[in-house]
Structures are given as structure tokens and as C-alpha cells.
Symmetry: C2
Subunit: 383 residues, 2 copies
């Protein structure tokens, strides 16, 4: 029987690649619901191709348009938060691929777990802002959270050894500005920053990769996903993005997961886990590559990485503030309002001013998020 899947964020980069993977195994996968933010053109195309039972456009101003486009099909169209809820709680699917950016899918993911679904998690913000809460619920409900991020998927795949995990090493490409000075970085344009050397991704995550904030988020995610202490997580810069991450065990054995920079690999693994199905991906040729390079990350030139790890260590509502302030700052940079190097200042200001709530509930997290956005906007405006 085909595995039914709900795809949150189907028109985004990960969503589209997920549908690619699903299309390559038409007898084994079935799309139960597609959820997109506002790109109804692409969503309607996807509905035609994958024939889900539900199609959801979050932006309710686009609902009529979607209804008109798919009126000949046997699909129920929903909109807004209510539509999102319908998709994640529907009967049938066992897996939700969560690829919507931001924390708006947080409640939806909790709801999905409560209705017995596993989560293929491509969203960063959920674990960064509410890692304790989400993992606690997952454990209580027996829901599996399977990482889609290439680094976390790599770690996840290296964790099936007997023995005790000593350390996890997250690799970072170092981004397009790995060798730039801070002064040079102050002058880069959004176009330059959007040109990532090894991975093709959405704009927000590409900028976060350029500042290494993304790697900081990944440290926080790894802590929660794999129940680690921050002292067990290291970051190493590896410009080729071939070694996706490493896990070290108690006898010193170090396992690495390598592969081409192709998101279909971790996406497919998340969909087929615990099995591993054929994938016609580019084969890695180490001799042609010649060498794999590694260096220590520079916290001075990439203060966002340090801020993120500190916010993670401090915990409580700090990571939510980190994430929210960064989201505002990145948007502001992409709009040409602040230089790239100002992102860390926006985030640092919010973290400095924040009054922590320890062990926050969902509401307190959302409040911290809202507060940090305001604070970040005010800080940018005041400049």
C-alpha cells in the first residue's frame, strides 16, 4: 500500500524536491494533502499532478483563485490556519513533511503528532524556538521526527551504531564569504549573498548560511533531535559540502556521511526511513574531487554562529528571540535596508534586552517571538 504523505510548503524549494522524489515512486507514495503559502499557480499544477484529497492555501485572499483552478478535480480546498489544521489532522497519512519556513507550522506539527503522524522535518524554526517542547511531545506521543536537513540526516544515519555517542560534528560550507574580512562583508549585496557556493536553497536560509546563523540553528536543532549536550556538538567548516556531518563514538571511531549536494537524498531517506530506496543521484568520485578541506569556524567574523550557540545554551525563550530577530534582520538585509554585518547586531540587541522565560509553553514562545520581531524592527528603524 502506498504511504500517504502531507506536504507542508509544497511550492517552496524543499517542497518541490519532495514532490520530485514522490513522483519517482508513484506506486509507493501518495500525496494526501498539499499546503502552500500563496503560490496558487504552482499549487494548482501540483494538485493536477498529484491529486491530493486536500489542497490548502494559507493566504485566504488566494483561495478563490485556487478553487477556480482545480474545480474539475476531486479535491477539497481549504485556507488559513483552519486549512492547515485540517491537513495535519486528516485521517490516513502517516507522515507530514514539514517544509514551511518559520514558526507558523509549530502548532500544526504538534497537532500532526497528536493524530499519530511522524514528522519529516525540514523546518528549522520549530526545533530552534521550541525544541524542548516539541521533542517532549514527540517522545510522549511516540512520534518519530526524521530530519530532512542534510547535516541532521547525515547524523541520523550515522547513529545506528552500538556504543555511546561521544560527539557530533556538523559540517558547514562556510558560505560564500568564508574568506572575506568583516569590512568586505559589510559591503556585500543581497545578490552576492544569495549565491551560495554548494547548495541551492530558499533566500532566508541562504542568507543564514552566509552569516553562519544557519549553522547555529543547526547546532540547536542537533541538540534537540539527538538529545545531546551542547558540549557534544562541534562545528567544522568544510567548503566542499561533501561530508554532510560526522558522529564520533566512545572508542574513537568516527562515522561520516558523504554525498553530492543533492537534497533529494535526505528528503527521500526521510520518506523511506527506516528503509533505503534506490535513488539515481550523481555518484560521488573522491579521486576526481581530489581533497576534502576542513577548518575551524571563525567566531569573530561570523558572530551569528556564536550568538546562536549561546542562545541555545541559555535556552528558555532565548532561541525563539534569536530566530525571530534574525528573521526580521535577514528580511531587512534582503530589502537593502541594512548591511549583512548588521544582522548579528540586530539579533544581539534583541537577545541582550530579552528577559528569559525558562521552560516556556507554546504561548510564551510565541510571545517571545512577537516581542523579538518588534524589538528588531525598532532597532533597525532607530539606526
Amino acid at each position: 500500500m502506498a504511504k500517504e504523505i502531507v506536504v507542508l510548503g509544497s511550492t517552496g524549494s524543499i517542497g518541490r524536491q519532495t514532490l520530485d522524489v514522490i513522483a519517482s515512486y508513484p506506486e509507493h507514495f501518495k500525496v494526501a494533502a498539499l499546503v502552500a503559502f500563496r503560490n496558487v499557480e504552482l499549487l494548482a499544477e501540483q494538485v493536477y499532478q498529484f491529486r491530493p484529497r486536500f489542497a490548502v492555501v494559507l493566504d485566504s485572499t488566494r483561495a478563490e483563485e485556487l478553487i477556480a483552478k482545480v474545480k474539475d478535480l476531486d479535491v477539497e480546498v481549504f485556507t488559513g490556519e483552519e486549512g492547515l489544521e485540517k491537513a495535519v489532522t486528516m485521517e490516513g497519512p502517516e507522515l507530514v513533511l514539514a517544509a514551511m519556513v518559520g514558526i507558523r507550522s509549530l502548532s500544526a506539527i504538534l497537532l500532526a503528532m497528536e493524530t499519530g503522524k511522524d514528522i519529516a522535518l525540514a523546518n528549522k524554526e520549530v526545533l530552534v524556538t521550541a525544541g524542548d517542547l516539541v521533542m517532549e511531545r514527540a517522545r510522549a506521543l511516540g512520534s518519530n521526527i526524521i530530519p530532512v536537513d542534510s547535516e541532521h540526516s547525515a547524523i541520523f544515519q550515522c547513529l545506528n551504531q552500538e556504543g555511546r555517542v561521544e560527539k557530533v560534528i556538523l559540517t558547514a560550507s562556510g558560505g560564500p564569504f568564508r574568506q572575506m574580512t568583516l569590512n568586505e562583508m559589510a559591503n556585500v549585496t543581497p545578490e552576492q549573498a544569495l549565491n551560495h557556493p554548494t547548495w541551492i536553497m530558499g533566500p532566508k536560509i541562504t542568507i543564514d548560511s552566509a552569516t553562519l546563523m544557519n549553522k547555529g540553528f543547526e547546532v540547536i536543532e542537533a541538540k534537540h533531535l539527538f538529545n545531546l549536550d551542547y558540549s557534544q556538538i562541534e562545528v567544522i567548516v568544510h567548503p566542499q559540502s561533501i561530508v554532510h556531518s560526522l558522529v564520533q563514538y566512545n572508542d574513537g571511531a568516527l562515522f561520516a556521511h558523504l554525498g553530492p549536494a543533492d537534497m533529494r537524498l535526505p528528503i527521500q531517506y526521510a520518506l523511506t526511513w527506516p528503509e533505503r530506496w534506490d535513488l539515481n543521484s550523481k555518484v560521488l568520485d573522491l579521486a576526481t574531487l581530489g581533497h576534502l578541506d576542513f577548518e575551524t569556524p571563525d567566531f569573530d567574523r561570523f558572530p551569528c554562529l556564536k550568538l546562536a550557540i549561546e542562545a541555545g545554551r541559555t535556552g528558555g525563550t532565548y532561541p525563539a528571540v534569536l530566530n525571530a530577530a534574525d528573521e526580521i534582520a535577514v528580511e531587512s538585509f534582503l530589502n537593502g535596508e541594512i548591511p549583512l554585518t548588521e544582522i548579528s547586531n540586530v539579533v544581539k540587541n534583541a537577545l541582550d534586552k530579552h528577559i528569559q522565560v525558562k521552560e516556556p509553553d507554546l504561548n510564551q514562545i510565541l510571545e517571545a517571538d512577537a516581542w523579538a520581531r518588534k524589538e528588531a524592527l525598532a532597532f533597525i528603524k532607530a539606526k
Copy 2:
């Protein structure tokens, strides 16, 4: 209860390191028997330290000496083939660590399996010469063969993934003469050849590493150990010997096992398998290493690698001839009788002249071995 172990070749390089590992877990391991070729001084010391029930010196001319040295202890001393048989068939131990060089332990290993023991295999010749036979017996008897070689241990440790193994990539340091021309190689002395860049090993295997014959043997071993086709086995030169080998799965995911060049790691894993115990080994720091290099092996400058893979592919008694002729040639090189570059000619001559026996039994393998030794000696003499 402590795991009882028989150590074949206890005074050699791997044997001594095995006893180091055993000594670090005195409550979990117990040496049941020690078998050495002729170094009775060291063997007696080991008997004093580990208090085995049996001590065996293969060279019967040294038996009296050993008896005299350990007469105060509660240990039975045996000698020759009979002693070896007693050690591998004794009641109690569940594991035989086979670290005797050469094919003389072949029958002993088969006997050990027949008495219900697992084999931690550090001997190359057994699988190279009689891989089909040994693996067939192991499967029939339900005996586990756990590789001790760092490359095969690495592969073994990367094989616990769901999915289909597509390819296995054996890494080779490339030896001390990786960048030499054939002419330069013709003039190297045994002393130069014995100076391996990354691993400290016995003389025979060190020379085989310099000619890459050792890597050819490992290809044949990998074929048998992991039930692969030769087309699934690749060799890649990796001078740092940090990546011990890699395994590629059907979705393109590539798993690597990395570690410092410390044989205690694979030895301990073979002793503790399927568990993984603490080992205070040097921690690998990729950033300090800076880079890992990879290149395609040069079959022209290292003809032994090609000869070995061809002999493996052809099968039957060819690998036994390969191994025996190489043993004679290496000895001859170490005695200063032939240049390093002549080793491949000695081996090639024997392979060319050999009349293959397909699916040989133990006797036919031993006959091919004896024939090849004579042929190799005659070829060297005739020069």
C-alpha cells in the same frame, strides 16, 4: 563473565596490540591460549602476565625452553601443529584472534570454526588463498568472521545500514613510494621500504603495502568477507590513512569510517563486537589535519595491485599462487636478492605458468601454494 580468547600469533605486532587491548579490560577478557611461532622469551612474559591455560610454541625446537620458563605456572605447554590444534579446539573460548602470518593457520581456523568459535581475522592469507572455502564453512557453521584489518573493520562497521550496498571503497595510503617513478622504486632498499608513512606493521605487510600488493589482497578479502562482486570494489589512494574505507548504498549515500592510525581500534572492535567499548585513543581533529586527499591508484607503477585483482577475479587456485609467490618474492627482496620492482615479475611469472584448479579443496590450495613457492624460487634463482 569474562570472554575467553585464543590468540594466534601473540608475539607479533597485532598479537601484542591485542594483548594490550585485553589488558585494558581485565574483568571482561580472559586469555585462554597463547600461540607464538618461536619468540619464547616474549611468549613466556605474556604467559606470566595473562595466565592462559595453554601456551603453544609452533617451533618445537623452542618447546623445552618455554617449558623451563613457565614451569612455575599452571599452564599446559604444547608445540607444533598438534599444539596449534589443541589451542583452537579447546573448550571454553568463543573467539580466536587469528594474527599468525601466512597460510599455516588456515586449517587451524577451519578447526576453530568447527568447534563453534568466532574468528577475529587479522590474517590476510587465509581469505586470499581460500576465501570461498573458508566463507562457505563459516556460513554453514554459523561462525562469525570479524575483520581486524582497519579497512575491512571500517567496511564491516559501515555495513549496518538498511538498503543495498552498491560499492565498497578501500582506501590505500599509497605506501612510502606513492610518488616515485618505477626507476626510483627499482633502487629502494629494504630499510626504505620498511618505513611506512602511516601504519607501523610487520615487515611482510609493510613491503606489501609499498607495492600495493597488500591492497590487492584486501580487495580479495573484501570480496569474500562481504560477499561482493569484484565490480563493487574500488581502491582509492588516501595518503593520510584517516578515512579507513567507505561504503556506498543504493541511494547514493556514502558512509566513511575515520579514525587515527591506531590498530587498537579495529582490534578492540573485533573483540567487543557487536558492542563498542570505550577506548582511550587519540582523538581525530579534522580542522588540524586541514585536508584529506584522494587519488586514483596508478596500476602502471603498482602492477602488484592489478595482478592481485586479476588473480582474484580469475579465482580458483590463482589467489593462492599470487600469495605464495609474493611471499617468496618479498622475502627475497628483504634479503637483498631482488629489487622491489622485481616482486611483481616473480608473481606474474608464477600466475602465468599456473594451471588453475577451479573450486579447489584445501589440499589443492596447499598444493598450488607449494608449487608457486618452488616456481618463484626457481624464477629468482634463474635471474
